[in-house]
């Protein structure tokens, strides 16, 4: 059910969890540096259209890490930051990270092939239905995504929304 994607300098593993019962507990655990969840990033799936969106953001983060050029403190936070069109780090993490009331969670691990085990371990901590990543399609909120990335009708009426979003992530920190 989890899925892995090759990055230029590593691999990203991701899984979608629905009807999560203990979001608040998970958030607290992350904040206190919990062992099991330390390697995991948690994204709000309503802002993700397709795995490639997260893949492009994570790929960029891993390259920055290799060059010791991270804007934030880890590859995980950098990936949340890269997903966001905002330059404000805190705002980006709030927007793309999970919030107290969230019932759907997209979990990801960035590293190499072996790091899949971190996703496996997270299964014991995040209690909910671990579903096929394809269910993302029914969760993503297109009008919120349009607003978040400031995509106007002139653009969205002509082109695929995913292409617009991915292109913006690709140029993050370059303009």
């Amino acid at each position: 059910m989890a899925k892995s994607f090759k990055l230029e300098a590593g691999t990203i593993h991701m899984a979608l969890v629905r009807d999560v019962q203990n979001t608040e507990e998970i958030r607290k655990k992350i904040q206190s540096g919990d062992e099991t969840l330390r390697a995991c990033g948690l994204v709000r799936p309503s802002l993700i259209l397709d795995p490639i969106q997260l893949v492009v953001a994570a790929n960029k983060s891993l390259l920055s890490a290799q060059r010791e050029d991270l804007t934030t403190k880890s590859v995980i936070t950098e990936t949340l930051y890269n997903l966001s069109p905002s330059k404000n780090i805190r705002q980006s993490l709030v927007n793309f990270g999970i919030g107290a009331g969230d019932k759907d969670v997209l979990v990801f691990v960035v590293g190499d092939d072996d790091d899949f085990r971190h996703l496996e371990a997270a299964r014991h901590v995040i209690s909910g239905r671990w579903v096929d990543i394809n269910e993302l399609e029914g969760i993503s909120d297109k009008s919120r995504i349009k607003k978040m990335y400031d995509i106007k009708d002139t653009e969205s009426e002509c082109f695929d929304l995913l292409d617009s979003v991915v292109s913006r992530i690709a140029v993050k920190k370059c303009l």
């Binding site: 300098a9 490639i52 790929n59 106007k152 991915v166 292109s167 690709a170 140029v171 370059c174 303009l175």
Partner: protein, 224 residues
């Protein structure tokens, strides 16, 4: 990973290769360092070109002009990883392929009209392409149609909204077409008609300026 890329073109400024990146078929456009330039100046210049291209690609898309999807812009490597446009051929090649057939004339006319509309969309949003030629616009021909237009090669672009900038942008296109296409005049008329249909009154000022730019250009060629 970059070893899997196959070079397909080496230009004066950029090297283009094809390959797979993040599971997508991409075209990698890289601006390699130039030995004859001072290293610091060189890296600043290539970075600026790459940045200008990335910025314009986002702005063009926002203006409703199709451009390749971006997967990574990497200023350190002066590289842009973008969508490899499926069945994309340059407008130049397309024109040369179908030109001899008179029954295809109306198809070319509507293509030029659409190019004019797209340039007007760019200009309305303050995007000056800077290197408009029929080699820097792709089409995706299917049986009986030119398909979709896709604008590329924004390395010389800048944002501006003066009439002069727009007129010069069109003039560059005009000169490029005159030197590559035998029917340039007819095609240009169609292009400008498309531009006018979209820009409306704003186009009249640009066309007036274009006349002046042409006159200047002629004088320059006469002198030397």
């Amino acid at each position: 990973m970059s070893s899997e890329f196959v070079e397909c073109q080496r230009g004066a400024e950029a090297t283009l290769s094809r390959g797979t990146y993040l599971g997508k078929r991409v075209l990698l456009k890289r601006r390699p360092p130039k030995a004859y330039r001072h290293p610091h100046l060189d890296s600043a210049l290539t970075k600026e070109r790459t940045r200008a291209e990335a910025r314009a690609l986002i702005r063009a898309r926002a203006a409703g002009v199709r451009v390749p999807t971006l997967y990574l812009v990497d200023l350190q490597r002066s590289s842009i990883y973008m969508e490899d446009v499926d069945n994309g051929i340059t407008v130049k090649d397309y024109i040369n392929k179908i030109q001899p057939k008179t029954e295809e004339e109306s198809k070319l006319d509507s293509l030029m009209n659409e190019i004019g509309i797209c340039i007007s969309k760019l200009h309305s949003d303050g995007v000056i392409h800077g290197d408009l030629t029929t080699s820097n616009i792709l089409v995706t021909p299917t049986s009986g149609n030119f398909g979709k237009l896709c604008f590329i090669d924004f390395g010389l672009s800048h944002t501006a909204s003066t009439i002069e900038d727009k007129a010069v942008d069109l003039y560059v296109m005009e000169r490029a077409m005159e030197s590559t296409h035998s029917e340039a005049q007819r095609l240009l008329m169609r292009l400008l008609a498309g531009y006018l249909s979209h820009s409306g009154k704003a186009a009249e000022d640009v066309f007036k300026k274009l006349d002046q730019v042409r006159a200047r250009g002629r004088k320059r060629t006469m002198v030397g």
